[in-house]
């Protein structure tokens, strides 16, 4: 039976070593022989610290003492300690990872420490690869999130001026109307169109035309409160969504916007005068539907254009 146990001890896939209270090695199994190249006959009877120098550190001496004198079992992880028993010379020890269990053993009135070493190198390599994969996936995920954000911004903003585009405006208008319906709010929809913008393009070229549109966007944005929305519908058409306390406020805002265009634009050494025509519709006075309100503001603007441009007008039913 003892012979069978001894054979089994040498066959198990882990290092098994027993030391006594003087740290003298009593058992040294086959796994340890194969790893270290040190035979049982050469090791048994030697002091553990001579055979395995890592145990000279206070941490391990304490662990052994606690097992031998206080009966404490201890587990040491490869993640924190790397390895305890080093391989024979010439073999790479840096990748080696081992877990260690230390348990007390008793025989008659003597106590021993059982030291079990398990090879965790493959597990650690797998975890390392998995962690790297997770990191890569996280980086990719972050990149996708950023590009999603960019494409969402692009789909809702005008690339030239950076203002919300028609799609975004429709969304905001619908949201503002439903909000105003709940809170009895008032809104003004102002259709703004530059007078004679085609001539600017024809006279100075498209680059200057683009600069004019940028300046228009800037002046409009600076004129209305930050809670209001200025959007570019396309070409030289802009639209303002204003929150009002009273319908009469719409005219105050329109006058302010008009005034913002009273000074000329200086672009690429050219002085350009540009007036604007503004058509206004009011919620809830003129309707409840976003498309209806937009059409009414457009109609009011068209009437201003027809009557000599450069001014503002509030929708009246006969406009459409």
């Amino acid at each position: 039976m003892d012979n069978l146990i001894s054979q089994a001890l040498n066959k198990v896939h882990m290092g098994i070593m027993i030391v006594d209270r003087q740290l003298k090695v009593v058992v040294w199994n086959g796994w340890l022989e194969r790893l270290t190249g040190k035979n049982k006959e050469d090791v048994v009877g030697l002091n553990l610290l001579e055979v395995c120098p890592r145990f000279k550190s206070n941490v391990y001496l304490n662990i052994l003492q606690n097992a031998l004198y206080h009966g404490q079992s201890r587990f040491c992880s490869s993640a924190l300690h790397k390895a305890f028993i080093l391989p024979k010379e010439g073999e790479d020890e840096h990748l080696l990872r081992q877990n260690m269990n230390v348990d007390p053993l008793y025989l008659e009135d003597r106590s021993y420490a059982l030291i079990q070493i398990s090879d965790m190198t493959n597990v650690n390599t797998r975890v390392y690869k998995l962690k790297n994969l997770i990191k890569e996936l996280e980086t990719e995920y972050a990149k996708i999130k950023i590009s999603e954000k960019i494409s969402k911004h692009l789909s809702l903003h005008d690339p030239l001026t950076g203002l919300p585009n028609r799609l975004a405006y429709n969304d905001r208008l619908a949201w503002a109307i439903s909000n105003a319906q709940r809170n009895h709010g008032k809104l003004a929809i102002m259709f703004v169109d530059a007078d004679g913008f085609k001539q600017v393009n024809d006279t100075y070229g498209h680059d200057v035309g683009d600069q004019v549109l940028l300046e228009m966007a800037k002046r409009l944005s600076e004129t209305v409160p930050s809670t209001d929305t200025v959007a570019r519908l396309g070409g030289d058409e802009f639209i303002i969504l204003s929150h009002l306390k009273d319908d009469r406020d719409a005219e105050v805002i329109a006058k302010r916007v008009e005034a913002a265009f009273s000074t000329h634009f200086k672009i690429a050494g050219n002085y350009i005068n540009l007036s604007i025509s503004i058509g206004i519709s009011l919620f809830p006075k003129h309707g409840q539907e976003p498309s209806e309100l937009l059409r009414q503001a457009d109609g009011a603007m068209y009437k201003i254009k027809k009557n000599g441009k450069n001014g503002y007008g509030i929708y009246e039913p006969e406009h459409v």
């Binding site: 206070n58 941490v59 304490n62 606690n66 206080h70 009966g71 404490q72 079992s73 201890r74 587990f75 040491c76 992880s77 490869s78 993640a79 924190l80 300690h81 877990n99 269990n101 348990d103 965790m120 597990v123 650690n124 797998r126 975890v127 998995l130 962690k131 997770i134 996280e138």
Partner: protein
């Protein structure tokens, strides 16, 4: 269950014990770890008010890391160290010198190596506490390596988490490391005999002090 004097004495004792464990852990992970147990209580789980936030871990649903260590004979019981799993992940990451920013609370990705680290941390801590209780009571204890498990706790599970154990010592535990405060709880379930011997020993000590 404990009067103020007993509570103070026990709090002081366990803080000395975990101080030693903290030193050992600091040496292993090569970082300064401070362990704090601001409060110790002896309670019966059935008497705990579920609304008391200090006992959230017993009553809230979610993933839990639990390490348990059985000890006996004269002073018998079972000690548990419990963390919500995201806190356990932060602790493992810091011990391994890794950043912990990307912990996703609903998706705890504790790996084999993380569990090994937590097993070792709980082993050091529970050994220190149980070992020193043994010294305090002047008795020889036998105990084995802790078992660790990741469990998903539902409300109904909470009722059976500590079944069969009537009274428990609760040590509210806080790991202070690398600007992070990881809080868990150590629960020591004791037999009635063990509680009596602990209380008797504490009373004798307090009496000697005041006598």
């Amino acid at each position: 269950m404990l009067n103020d004097l007993q509570k103070d004495l026990l709090t002081e004792l366990v803080n000395v014990y975990v101080g030693q464990a903290a030193n050992m852990l600091s040496e292993i992970v090569e970082k300064r770890i401070v362990l704090n147990i601001p409060e110790v209580e002896l309670i019966s789980i059935s008497d705990v008010d579920p609304g008391d936030r200090r006992y959230n871990i017993f009553f809230s649903e979610g993933h839990l890391f639990r390490s348990s260590l059985q000890f006996g004979y004269e002073f018998q019981g079972k000690a548990f160290l419990m963390f919500p799993v995201e806190q356990a992940k932060v602790l493992a990451n810091i011990c391994l010198g890794e950043l912990s920013e990307s912990v996703i609370p609903d998706d705890p990705d504790l790996m084999d190596t993380d569990l090994d680290v937590l097993k070792e941390v709980s082993n050091v801590l529970l050994n220190a506490i149980i070992g020193e209780f043994g010294n305090f009571l002047e008795i020889k204890l036998e105990y084995v390596l802790p078992d660790i498990e990741l469990i998903y706790v539902t409300n109904s599970d909470q009722q059976i988490l500590l079944q069969n154990e009537v009274y428990v010592l609760v040590l509210h535990t806080s790991f202070l490391l690398a600007d992070t405060d990881v809080t868990g709880i150590i629960v020591i379930a004791l037999s009635m005999n063990s509680i009596s011997s602990l209380l008797a020993k504490m009373d004798a000590l307090l009496e000697a002090d005041h006598g």
